[in-house]
Subunit: 160 residues, 2 copies
C-alpha cells in the first residue's frame, strides 16, 4: 500500500513536472504569421508581387491534402500567402466563386500553446471551425476561429 | 550671359544632388504595416483582442478628417487596425452595410518612395483610387491600389 502510494505520488509529481515544462499556458497573441489572399490566377498574382511590386516570392507549392497551391510573398517582417485551389473540393473554391477577382481569405497569428488558446476561446464562447486543432499547411497545429465571432474575419491561430 | 549659364548649371547640379540624396527610387515592397478590420462595435472588437486574445491594444483614436475611429492591436512584428465609422460619410460605412459582422477592409505595406511606387503602378496599368498620394491616417503619404487590379484586395502603400 505504501509502495503504491509512493508510486502514485511520484507519477503525480512527474506529470506536474512535464506539464509545467513542456508547454507554457496561453500567453496571448504572438507574431502575425501571414495574410492569405485567394487568387483566381496564381501566375498573374505572383507576377504582380514579384515583377511589379518588387517583392521576393517563393516557388509554387502544391498541398493536395489541403486542396491549395501556395506562393509566399516574403516581406521583411511577415508573409503574404497567395492561395489557389488545387484539385476537387478545395476549401477556397467556394470563396473564389463568390469573389471572382479574389480577396483576403484569412489572417494567421501565432500563439505559444494552441490547446490552451482553444480552451480560452471555448471559455469565452468564441466558436472554432473544428473542435480540436489540426496540423495546418505549414506542418504546425492550427485552429480557425469562426468569422461570426471575430468581426467577420476568419482568424487562424498557429502554434509557433 | 555667362553668369546666367553658370547659375543655371549650379541649379541643375543642386537639383540633381537633392533628388539623388533625398529619395531613393522605388525599391519594392517593404514591411507589412497593418491589416485593417472594419468592425461594427469597436468596444466589443477591442475586448476580443485585449481581454480574450491577450494582445496589447492602443486607446481609441478619432480621426474626423478620415471618417474613422481606430484602435491598434499591437503584435510583436506588425499591427492589426480596428476601424469604425466616425461621423457622416465615413469611407467604411458602405463596407459595413454590406458586411454586417465586419471584415478585412485593406492591407497596408510600406514603400520607401511613394511617388516612384505610383509611377511603377501606372507604367504597369495598376489603377489607384486617387491620382496622387495623399496624407494618410498616420500622417504619411499613402496611395490605395484598385482591388480589381490586385486580386480583389484593397492594397494601401504607405511611405515609410
Amino acid at each position: 500500500m505504501f509502495r503504491f502510494a509512493r508510486f502514485a505520488l511520484c507519477r503525480q509529481l512527474m506529470v506536474r513536472h512535464v506539464s509545467a515544462t513542456a508547454k507554457k499556458s496561453f500567453s496571448g497573441l504572438g507574431k502575425f504569421n501571414h495574410v492569405a489572399i485567394a487568387v483566381p490566377n496564381l501566375e498573374k498574382a505572383t507576377a504582380l508581387y514579384r515583377d511589379i511590386l518588387g517583392a521576393k516570392v517563393s516557388d509554387v507549392q502544391d498541398l493536395p491534402e489541403h486542396g491549395v497551391s501556395t506562393v509566399f510573398v516574403e516581406l521583411p517582417n511577415t508573409k503574404i500567402e497567395l492561395l489557389h485551389p488545387f484539385g476537387e473540393d478545395s476549401p477556397i473554391a467556394k470563396f473564389l466563386a463568390k469573389n471572382k477577382s479574389g480577396g483576403i481569405h484569412h489572417i494567421c497569428v501565432e500563439v505559444n500553446n494552441i490547446r490552451e488558446a482553444v480552451a480560452t476561446l471555448q471559455t469565452n464562447n468564441i466558436r472554432t471551425l473544428t473542435k480540436e486543432p489540426k496540423i495546418g499547411a505549414h506542418g504546425k497545429p492550427v485552429i480557425f476561429c469562426h468569422p461570426k465571432d471575430c468581426n467577420g474575419v476568419l482568424l487562424e491561430l498557429e502554434e509557433a
